[in-house]
């Protein structure tokens, strides 16, 4: 088969993970979930498809344009192929696990699909791994989510981690509280989203002063917090958001001491369904964000108030660009005539064994052909130690 034919085998944005990449990703996912479980997060595994009205409700609405739809021939209702798992975990928390004590800590890992990739992230199938902590308003929950994400990434060797903390509801609250005319309100939000300091100044008066001040208060966490705290005349809900940030930062510094922390008080992109302190994770030299998370209300789409929750999702496509490299694994070739005898002993000692299926004359040559690092020399016998091929 020629290269063009091979390339055309899969749709754009979908690919086969081959050896050793597939194992490397499986190792990383298992290590991340293992770290989540160490802090009491219990695994759940929702299905790949479910009714679209559940999958795309509330915080899931943001994934609606990215979600493949399927007709269910059994119920004759439309189903969606999940583009995100958080909304499924929240559904589980507020339905099947409603009687479990709060805070409820849940984790997950699994594939997600979306209709189209983007230029920055062409992959249409991405494995997501993450945690949700449901039923607590505490700043300790915010700090735990960020620290756990960072510490789990550290476990798999992702270097030089940083987190950018956003307060996506702060700017909209300030804008709404300023008593601006509708057109000015749109202009103010738009200026903040574009980080257009001149346009913010052009709003004039109290709007220019307050919004300019939060626009300026971005960067390293310490100075950014100090600048936010120094702003006079903030409404109560705005002050509460800054107090929350002040409560979270020292907890985070204690729980994830190596993590570089920045604050961006006006960032809202991707946080449209977040209800408070949110964050994005990066690693130096790794393209794309590794994950994101933040506050939301679990189950609010069912008509009630919802449960306060926070959590995070890691995107394994980006994460694997930063994870520690896979180490080549020693593999021992067993000539066919002694494979049955030598195999169990060597595997029990931790070896990966490849059994010869048919007799061959040159065990070392066959081992090399099969890309093994070691072989058992039949002249020495089934009980002998593996010899290096080279």
């Amino acid at each position: 088969m020629n290269v063009d034919a091979a390339k055309s085998l899969l749709p754009d944005g979908l690919r086969d993970l081959l050896p050793p990449e597939a194992e490397h990703e499986a190792w990383a996912v298992a290590a991340l979930v293992g770290r989540f479980r160490q802090e009491g997060y219990q695994r759940v595994d929702p299905p790949l498809v479910e009714f679209e009205d559940g999958l795309l409700a509330g915080p899931g609405a943001g994934t609606a344009p990215h979600t493949f739809r399927l007709m269910d021939p059994v119920s004759q209702r439309m189903m969606g192929l999940r583009a995100d798992i958080t909304v499924q975990v929240a559904r589980i928390a507020v339905s099947r696990l409603t009687r479990q004590p709060r805070p409820l800590r849940l984790c997950y890992a699994g594939p997600t699909l979306r209709v189209r990739g983007t230029q920055l992230r062409p992959e249409r199938q991405v494995t997501q791994a993450g945690c949700e902590i449901i039923g607590s308003r505490s700043a300790a929950a915010d700090a735990e989510a960020i620290a756990l994400a960072a510490n789990a990434l550290d476990t798999i060797g992702v270097p030089d981690l940083s987190v950018d903390i956003a307060l996506p509801t702060l700017a909209p609250r300030l804008v709404d509280g300023l008593g601006l005319a509708a057109a000015d309100r749109v202009a103010a939000r738009d200026a903040l989203d574009r980080r257009d300091a001149a346009a913010v100044r052009a709003l004039g008066g109290e709007a220019a002063r307050l919004l300019g001040a939060i626009l300026d208060a971005s960067g390293r966490a310490g100075p950014a917090l100090a600048a936010l705290q120094a702003i006079d005349g903030l409404p109560d809900d705005g002050r509460a958001e800054i107090a929350r940030l002040a409560d979270v930062l020292p907890r985070l510094a204690e729980a994830a001491p190596g993590l570089a922390v920045t604050v961006d008080a006006v960032e809202r992109r991707g946080f449209e369904y977040q209800t408070g302190l949110s964050f994005t994770l990066f690693a130096k030299g790794v393209r794309g964000e590794l994950g994101r998370g933040g506050r939301y209300l679990a189950g609010a789409e069912n008509g009630g108030a919802g449960e306060p929750a926070t959590g995070f999702t890691l995107y394994m496509d980006s994460v694997m660009r930063g994870a520690r490299a896979a180490t080549a694994e020693p593999r021992c070739f067993l000539p066919a005539e002694l494979a049955a005898e030598a195999g169990p002993r060597l595997r029990a000692a931790g070896w990966v064994t490849l059994a010869g299926l048919d007799p061959v004359g040159d065990a070392r040559g066959e081992a090399r052909r099969l890309k093994c690092t070691h072989f058992i020399d039949p002249a020495v016998g089934a009980g002998s130690d593996p010899l290096p091929v080279d």
Copy 2:
């Protein structure tokens, strides 16, 4: 939310795996794949969806009626949501890994979906885990596939395993070689599929004698093989199939000594795309088959001869009904005021820790409420040993 509403949340045949079931299945899948990797099977991970003409070609044709279809908005071509992974792994072997040395050993684990469940197996999403060995005609490959499936299931505690070996091409070859009229040929195949001894006898002559003999030669492997070997007048290709069985059985007995082996020389159901020795795995007291596998030609649908291959697939819904029960995990509650100090020490010592988020007066009571088995008593201090809750 009432029970009816909760039940209606998911489509029929799709379900959430909750704690501790989700972790238990993840553990079992990881243990199975870990066992596959011990014998040199390297993991591949094909995408959940691909173009239907690739997914449903050759051996994939059997899954066509069960496969969800999706329109790819990028290519405007139809894609299928995989109902089986074997065909994907075969595709990888004969395209992307065509230059890798043979025999090529590959393994995989991942979810599959099908349009409808059956009465015996209502699940529409099933995780499959399996192995393929591509590029060998050797009887050692047949024996290795069966033994590895059984030994891997043994690793996770599935008791009293048995395998039923089928020779799905034997009876059709005999029927075709008998020189019967077209109508009699159909009648003969049909009689064998229904195991209708009277109808086989009614064929008369050589057909009745030969086909009656292979119909009788089913049951425990030793006697069944002897009965098959005792049949006179078999054509060469029929004798070759029985010789292959005779070659595989002692190898299998050596590699998987505890496995009960039966032979069913006429079984063809589910083996429509198999080209030789095939098998189905069962465990005493476990409803449904745990897995199946057998010989096929990888890539024959591309127009060439294809590569000789064998392998197996395990169905995790059935497998989990037989796997060792999950053991309850000790969990230690850490009161909020000492969680940051005590957590890293206890986790490094292997504990699962649950941090209190807000201060509570009664650490033991809070530990019990959170279903922890242990707690750290703040009166004793952050450096103290976990105390049992009860």
